[in-house]
Amino acid sequence: MGKLKFAILSFAHIHAWSYASVLKDLEKENEVEFVAVYDDDPERLKKAAEAYGVKQYSDYIRLLEVEKPDAVIVTSENAKHISQVLVACEKGIHVLCEKPIATTLKDADEMIRAVEKSGVKFQTAFVMRYHEVTVETKRIIDEGSIGEIVAITSTNHGKYPGLWFGDPDLAGGGAIMDHTVHNADLMRWYTKDEAKEVYAIYKKNIRDYLKVEDNALITIRFKKGVVASIDCSWSRPDSWPIWGDVYLGIFGTEGYIVVDAFRSFIILAPDKGAMTSRYFGTNPDYEMIKDFIRVIKEDDTPRATVYDGRQALEIALAAYKSLEKKAPVELPL
């Protein structure tokens, strides 16, 4: 198999820009050919096409038919993933799909069926399975250095991302939908277990003008007994020097691990105005896309499958259901 032809479907999700840069890097390594972009926002489409010197399409079906890419990266708004994924599957095109893969379990299950039927590779963009810090953590846990996992306390804090992330129809929710699934996925990966029960609380917003929740606290019990928590809040103000965090305190019977995946940054204090920062840790986007290519070429199973995408989504949806019921919610939903 030679160079794989890639297209990116929508730059609605901010991660698309980083993925596109990775594709340009991989082009230089003769791994891929980045051929085209699609977007339903004309301005964004033009900007992306010009930035990366690729063809532009305002119709993704046409893009798939004309360019016949081997693989697509789906980075549209959460609720729009489903239609693009289904067409790609139908045409036998491999998919790397941004998280959360969908906004409802019905959509996620339909995606699973389409992936199974078509036999395409579908990888969920759980980029945290490719961060050196979290990968090393997986190795330390699996070798038994901290004994059995007892509890995991975690945060995926962020700023308010803006754009459509505050639109419940497109995002499927607010901070819970946006910032629960990465940590939920890491917990599933580390414990090799599924969530059994979810409870969540939320009372009022930090930013009262938002239509979606911008903070919440979630606690999870896994089937084999591990207790875990996720703070998914967009509780970082715009002036915060970094975007947010992925933090896990993992308490084992024989040891304790602190994962602070994006802590590796240099603070820059300008002569005036807010401090900023420069991150110097690993770029997991590169490793993730490179592994996606390997999975396609070697006909392997992705590290994070469509099913993993669904299971993490279910935990986020269970948190919403718990808020509604004001009680713990049993999984499966």
């Binding site: 007892v150 609380i201 009372k203």
Partner: protein, 341 residues
Amino acid sequence: MKRGVGLGKVKVVVHGLGFIALNHHLPSLKRMDDVEVSGVVSRNIEHAKKVARDYGARPYSSLEEAIEKEKPDIVVICTETFRHKGDALTSIEHGVNIFLEKPITLRLKDADDIINTAKKKGVKLMVGHVLRFWPEYVATKDMVDKGEIGNPVVARAYRYVSFPPWSFKRWHKDLEKSGGVFVDLSIHDVDFLRWVLGEVEEVFARGATVYEDTTAPVYMHALLKFKNGAIAYVDGSWLIPPTHPFYTYLEIAGTRGLLVVDNLTTAGLRVYLKDEVRCWTPVPRDGYYLELRSFINSVKKDLEPAITGEEARKSLEVTLAALKSFKENRPVKLPLEEEVI
């Protein structure tokens, strides 16, 4: 019936000569010119004798005997939690003011007994919720009160300590004696958050006992809903290995800003020993000194103590609600209708 102590030295008896007394309360009292530690009490008289020599006090193996002989103005009670009620009532019945370590008791009824008896006898009672005197927590409270983060919305607090095996074996692992990590340790953060955010209306908690011979949770986290509309996550653990220093973390996000403080990145001093790492910010008068100083002043000047029994009872109630939620796996509303331990 003691009302104001007058000009002489304040006589103090310290009861319970464990970690907190030896490392904090006794050294703090020794630094106060207007205080005389006249007696120290331990059930182990040999231990009491040794400590008495260090502090120029008389040793006792019975609190009652110490009170009768020394006639102190104040008893500082640092015994194990399950002994608090008996020790507190003994002191109160003798008309002696008491500074009582946290948690006040393990049962609400016992806390009420102490509070009511103290009132009836006219003695002063303060419970050692030391964060209300701890520099970074005092500063945090001040920042929130001044509106620097706007209205508080979501808070997080961690408190992790690796347990000294000797103490753990003795009583902490027994639910009936310590209440477990949330009642014993996280009560600090609960009390602090109540001080800043007001009353809690509902609690949900999860935890783990981990060891076969342990009935007390050694790890627990709780989700708290406050009446003012804020929410908080409180995390307590005795599960960190001794290679990790004592750790506390606090953040509060509000409508106008976020504040974050933890004891490791803000430590003015880090000391690495062979088997221990200590990180802290030394100040001339630390929280332990200031809480005792505050109580002694309230006794001398006949003022209401800074942390009343009622306050301590409310913080206890929240931690017991967490324990109840852990046991019953459901959100628990306050006030509690019945005992949990």
